[in-house]
């Protein structure tokens, strides 16, 4: 053996084992996601668990098949795909048919992940890709129940006394209470329901270093600010003028803040801010980029909820936070943030 060959045969640094591996990150994230799955089983019944398992097994099966065809064995890849399946199921309502979960999961892995080269190379969060496609294909089956968010954004039903919308009647009488939205089963996605648990998981991800604290915090803060300051625009049937209301000023402050809190504790906002953003590949690399990303996503979430055109409203309003994250995923690679 020549000297140069000998030198090259010596190992290269680092000589310590890595503290974390991609496989371990994926396993830990998946293990933690079993908690919202259990919560969904308790709150929505065993049907929810079946739906989650269907999505997870479909994702695993497809990943195994594609991996076998491409003859690659990347540690953590299958776990990641299973996690995407579980996350997709979290965004679906409890009464959703099994084939929708299966289709969404297959689309997430094949279109969202594998089409772009697999783990580490995809552009958009695969679970969101799956959810978007499912929303477009099976809108009627998914939108069978009216979620608090849909009810809240359906301003056409508001009756008017003078020029003041009766926000309070809607918030206090027609919607589930805020406490219910935080803890228990309300219409909406399986994994979105127990928001306190999602926040705890987000804190755990921050502790483990999978998530910078700035990202979920700025996401929630920007949503809160947007909900507080973005005006509500109501089309008046038969009249050319629109009515514009500022939520904090239209009625009393208590009603205004209740309205803003509904924006936080309904829909997929907390799931998106605390769990979906923990996917490393589709978010910006740097902390600064992640702050811009979170602010943009927060503002877009409220914008989609309030200003979505009527034609698209049925499709996009229930998944406003996911759409916002999806759009910001696109901007990550465009602006290289």
């Amino acid at each position: 053996m020549s000297k140069s060959t000998e030198q090259y045969s010596l190992p290269l640094p680092p000589f310590r084992p890595s503290p974390e591996s991609a496989r371990r990150i994926m396993r830990t994230q998946l293990a933690v996601l079993t908690l919202p799955a259990l919560a969904a089983a308790i709150l929505f019944g065993l049907g929810a668990l079946k739906l989650i398992l269907t999505a997870a097994l479909t994702a695993m099966l497809i990943e195994l098949i594609v991996g076998r065809i491409k003859r690659e064995n990347i540690p953590g890849n299958i776990t990641h795909s299973v996690m995407m399946g579980v996350l997709l199921a979290f965004t679906l309502p409890g009464e959703c048919p099994w084939y929708i979960a299966m289709t969404g999961s297959a689309v997430a892995v094949l279109m969202g992940k594998r089409c772009f080269g697999g783990l580490g190379r995809y552009r958009w969060h695969p679970a969101l890709v799956g959810r978007l496609v499912v929303q477009l294909l099976f809108n009627e089956q998914i939108a069978a129940s009216v979620t608090p968010l849909q009810a809240l954004c359906n301003w056409g039903d508001l009756r008017f006394v003078g020029s003041v919308p009766q926000l309070g009647i809607y918030l206090y009488d027609k919607l589930p209470s805020l406490q219910q939205c935080q803890w228990s089963a309300v219409p909406g996605g399986l994994g979105e329901s127990c928001r306190v648990l999602l926040i705890l998981i987000g804190l755990y991800f921050i502790y483990r270093g999978y998530l910078h604290w700035q990202l979920p915090l700025m996401f929630i803060v920007s949503t809160y600010a947007a909900a507080a300051f973005f005006p509500i625009i109501v089309e008046q049937p038969g009249l050319p003028d629109r009515l514009i209301y500022f939520p904090l000023l239209a009625e009393s402050l208590s009603i205004g803040f209740t309205y803003i809190n509904y924006h936080l504790f309904t829909g997929g906002l907390i799931l998106t801010a605390c769990i979906m953003t923990a996917d490393m590949t589709s978010r910006p690399l740097t902390v600064r980029g992640q702050i811009y990303f979170a602010i943009g996503a927060g503002l877009l979430t409220v914008a989609v909820r309030l200003y979505c055109p009527a034609v698209l409203s049925a499709y996009l309003t229930p998944i406003s936070a996911y759409i916002a994250l999806f759009v910001m995923n696109t901007l990550v690679r465009i602006f290289r943030i």
Partner: protein
């Protein structure tokens, strides 16, 4: 399966990491001579110069510089002759000279051993260089958990400052940044312009040279790691085969790798063909070496978070793969201190630091 259990890595919120000791940590007071060699003098008619006489005395300064030049003292980090560095620094307005006693890694605590057993020599060496450069202050930066003899420090008018021992505090740039954070250095001036950091072993060599006319014929070398049964500090003559030192440290038969330097950024060496050189300081022996194969980057961003130089290491890796060296220079290639945190922390096991080293060597 290793789920959820937290790793040994302790993240620090202001950047940087703390490393756990790799194997046993050598005791501070165990410095022994492997073989004794006669110590040649630099000049036969050499008269020791007290440090106090150097300040402002051009004749004495010239004599000291000449002695250092003749002895061929080298700066360990850059391997630059100390005499050349001093001449360069003379043109700058150096305000502070710093001795950095923070170890490279917990188990490679050579600077602490030197401070513990030969503190007087180090403080005297620091005082000599302070007076030679005409600096206002001399500072000993030491890990906050270490007990330092302040009596000797006061005698040589050296201020002792406790610092954190997070990796890579042993690097000159890191310690200067820490002193700047602690407001011992101006925030409005680049720290390299007003302060200079000296290695502990170099200070001891300066003291031995100027006060006892002994040349740099010996090195204090630490052998540690989980591949030796008796990790120790040794006073070893320059030129000694490394193998002898490893045998004295009771190297295990199944040890897989010997590293010159730290376990994160050191270079693997062949112990049969290596000798103790003029800048050798520490060797880590690894018993079980396991490094999984690299896989695609998952864009976790940890290399950016923990980079002490504040650059984007994974971008430099991409530029290396595309052979875009000029762009790499513009992206801070030369700011990299080669600490190896990026490669160590990477969950995809990407050889980021090696790519940076390769690019630097091609420049």
């Amino acid at each position: 399966m290793g789920l959820i259990t937290y790793s040994k890595l302790d993240h620090d919120f202001d950047g940087g990491i703390y490393l756990s000791p790799l194997g046993e940590v050598p005791p501070l007071d165990r410095i022994e001579s492997v073989t004794s060699l006669p110590q040649p003098s630099v000049q036969s008619d050499w008269r020791p110069i007290p440090p106090a006489e150097i300040a402002g005395n051009e004749t004495q300064k010239l004599a000291v510089l000449h002695a250092i030049e003749q002895a061929g003292l080298l700066v360990p980090d850059t391997r630059e002759p100390l005499a050349e560095l001093l001449q360069k620094l003379q043109r700058q307005n150096i305000r502070m000279v710093v001795a950095n006693a923070t170890p490279i890694e917990p188990s490679l605590n050579t600077p602490l051993a030197i401070l513990h057993c030969m503190g007087e020599q180090v403080f005297a060496g620091l005082a000599i260089l302070r007076n030679w450069l005409g600096a206002d202050r001399a500072v000993m930066a030491y890990p906050h958990h270490f007990t330092i003899d302040r009596g000797i420090a006061d005698k040589w008018r050296v201020r002792c400052l406790p610092v954190s021992d997070k990796y890579p505090q042993a690097r000159p740039t890191s310690i200067l940044r820490t002193l700047r954070k602690q407001r011992h250095l101006s925030r409005f001036r680049r720290p390299e312009r007003s302060a200079v950091v000296f290695d502990m072993q170099l200070l001891r060599q300066v003291e031995r040279l100027i006060l006892t006319a002994s040349g740099p014929t010996e090195r204090i070398v630490t052998v540690s790691g989980d591949g030796v049964a008796r990790p120790s500090h040794f006073i070893a003559p320059v030129g000694l085969p490394l193998k002898q030192l490893l045998e004295r440290a009771s190297i295990y038969d199944d040890a897989q790798c010997v590293i010159d330097g730290s376990s994160l950024a050191g270079v693997a060496v062949d112990p049969d063909k290596t000798i103790i050189g003029p800048v050798s300081q520490s060797f880590t022996v690894i018993r079980y070496l396991s490094r999984p194969a690299a896989q695609p980057c998952i864009r976790c961003g940890w290399c950016i978070d923990d980079c002490p130089a504040g650059i984007n290491p994974v971008r430099l890796l991409r530029l290396y793969e595309k052979s875009k060296y000029e762009l790499a220079v513009r992206n801070g290639l030369h700011k990299c201190v080669e600490c190896g945190i990026c490669s160590y922390i990477c969950p995809s096991h990407l050889p980021i630091m090696n790519a940076i080293r390769m690019m630097k060597s091609k420049e």
